[in-house]
């Protein structure tokens, strides 16, 4: 059994045993239901763009709650000592944990399948756009999860991990706002860094290599930082 698979299955098992996962899923789905209804009531358009737009902001708040315990809890429980004295690499630990929490997120996302179903049954929505929206939303969430996993490796206090995560993810959001009030190269740089700039085309049915690359880079970058950070803590 590979180290990555072992860590992945263990982490998914613990996520599914945790009441917190269900609370997060319930909050996400309840707010999602509200956004779905609100957009339909206001626009009468058979589209999920309003739903995904609003839910992307909810992600900023729920992702750190999902990820805060990923490493901080291992430190606090002393199980870090088991993982780090076993023949698995830090890279396998980090990637295994990331894939597990991404699987949970994908599962929660799968539960929203009712919204497109309602649209299909009652109207004639543009299906490819719905599919690209889901893809974009998953990539956005996965990138946020990588950021949250990184902040969890900074501390053995889960709350500190979560607050740091909120901070970093809010920054992603505010970069977007700042881009609106500057011009020139700076505006281009800020827009290029903004997670929402790269997410928005997906909700209009557009998949570009640049946007996909952006999310994959954020994921790879923060997983790398998490791995480096664990390595550094050990040498400290």
């Amino acid at each position: 059994m590979s180290g990555l698979g072992t860590i992945y299955r263990k982490e998914l098992r613990i996520l599914l045993a945790s009441p917190l996962s269900y609370v997060v899923a319930a909050v996400f789905l309840a707010l999602g239901g509200y956004f779905f209804w609100l957009f339909l009531a206001n626009t009468a358009l058979a589209s999920l763009s309003g739903y995904f737009g609003n839910s992307s902001i909810v992600l900023v708040f729920i992702v750190p709650v999902l990820t805060m315990r990923l490493w901080a809890e291992e430190e606090a429980r002393g199980t870090a000592e088991l993982l780090l004295t076993s023949p698995v690499s830090l890279g396998q630990v980090v990637v295994g944990k990331f894939l597990a929490v991404a699987t949970l997120f994908a599962g929660i996302l799968l539960l929203t399948v009712g919204y497109p179903l309602v649209l299909i049954l009652r109207s004639d929505p543009h299906l490819p756009t719905i599919l690209t929206s889901y893809l974009g939303f998953f990539l956005l969430g996965a990138a946020f999860l990588a950021v949250g996993l990184f902040t969890s490796t900074l501390t053995h206090h889960q709350v500190i991990a979560a607050v740091t995560g909120f901070g970093l993810l809010l920054l992603f959001w505010f970069i977007d706002l700042a881009a609106g009030s500057v011009t020139g190269t700076l505006r281009q740089v800020l827009l290029a860094l903004s997670a929402f700039t790269h997410f928005e085309p997906f909700t209009r049915g557009l998949i570009s290599a640049a946007d996909v690359t952006y999310f994959l880079s954020v994921i790879a970058g923060f997983l790398f930082l998490a791995e480096r950070n664990l390595e550094r803590r050990l040498w400290g």
């Binding site: 072992t6 002393g78 199980t79 780090l84 004295t85 076993s86 023949p87 698995v88």
Partner: protein, 319 residues
């Protein structure tokens, strides 16, 4: 099997372990003793590859835990100071997870997990959640976990802490059973435990090695210079006579003359055995020796002596 060469570990400018060198040979059971905060846990964490040393080299089963972590770690079973458990898992799930983590082949997994549970008396609680177990059982799960993957080297940090007396006896039996096929380094501050289990003892204090010897030598060495004897003779006279023996450094009357017998304590000069000379001296004077013994210090006394000496020596060094 385990070799440390000039290992030091620094935390924020303070040495937790300083210039520590020792070896544990294959099949040995070695006790690692020291007061709390002496650096036992840090040393064990360095050996198991949890943290690298700041200076020096470690080798376990021929592999350096820093250079070749996977090879070294797969040969070590480690019970940390607090057992690394997931309370939301059942005993069986947890041990299966650890088997996978330690790369136990699928075909052997069930067998090894069953064996580990049997050896640690967990068979009856296999389906219980670890979070619902008592402290003693949790400690046993921690030990069971260390046995998985059949590692040749076992590093046990306070294996019997938190157990009741009956459980302590069971775990000691288990360690004795493992002794033949494993190399064991176990830390403890319970001295009789170390005396009962270990062939050799390594004592550290303030991160430094203060003594390293076979358990029986360590108890004998400190008592080397001291004898106790009961002689049928007038007390002052026999003391006077004994002081004239060249090998004798000092004499003390422990119990004054009762019924014509006196109990004395004799300190020998370093490196000398005064017993034959005492025998001839007292025989010549026609004073029969009723008892002559070399009292063995318990490890506890040796430990206290070694550990309490240290600050004084350190003080002299810096003066």
């Amino acid at each position: 099997m385990i070799h440390l060469e000039h290992v030091s570990k620094w935390y924020a400018g303070r040495a937790a372990v300083e210039d520590l060198s020792f070896s544990v040979e294959e099949g040995e059971v070695v006790g690692f003793l020291g007061p709390n905060g002496a650096g036992k846990t840090t040393t064990m964490r360095i050996i198991t590859g949890y943290m690298p040393p700041s200076e020096g080299r470690v080798e376990v089963a021929g592999f350096d835990p820093v250079e070749d972590p996977v090879a070294a770690k797969s040969r070590i079973g480690y019970l940390p100071e607090s057992p690394p458990l997931y309370p939301e898992m059942s005993v069986l799930t947890y041990l299966t997870f650890v088997s996978d983590l330690k790369r136990v082949p699928r075909s052997q997994r069930t067998k090894q997990v069953e064996q580990a549970m049997e050896r640690t008396g967990l068979t009856g609680v296999r389906h219980r959640l670890i979070g619902h177990l008592s402290k003693g059982y949790r400690q046993r799960v921690g030990i069971a976990q260390a046995l998985l993957g059949e590692p040749p080297v076992l590093i046990l940090d306070e294996p019997t802490v938190g157990l009741d007396p009956r459980q302590i006896i069971e775990i000691r039996e288990l360690i004795r059973e493992l002794a033949g096929s494993h190399t064991v380094l176990l830390s403890s501050h319970i001295l009789p435990e170390v005396q009962a289990l270990c062939q050799r003892v390594i004592i550290i204090n303030r991160g430094r090695l203060v003594a390293e010897d076979r358990t029986e030598n360590l108890s004998a060495s400190k008592a080397g210079g001291r004898l106790e004897l009961v002689v049928q003779a007038p007390a002052p006279a026999v003391a006077q006579r004994l002081e004239q023996v060249p090998e004798v450094a000092g004499v003390r009357i422990l119990e004054p003359e009762t019924g014509g017998q006196v109990r004395l304590q004799v300190d020998e000069r370093p490196g000398m055995d005064a017993r034959p000379a005492i025998f001839f001296a007292l025989a010549e004077a026609q004073w029969p020796i009723l008892e002559l013994t070399r009292p063995r210090f318990s490890l506890e006394e040796v430990f206290m002596e070694l550990v309490t000496q240290e600050p004084a020596e350190a003080g002299e060094g810096s003066a």
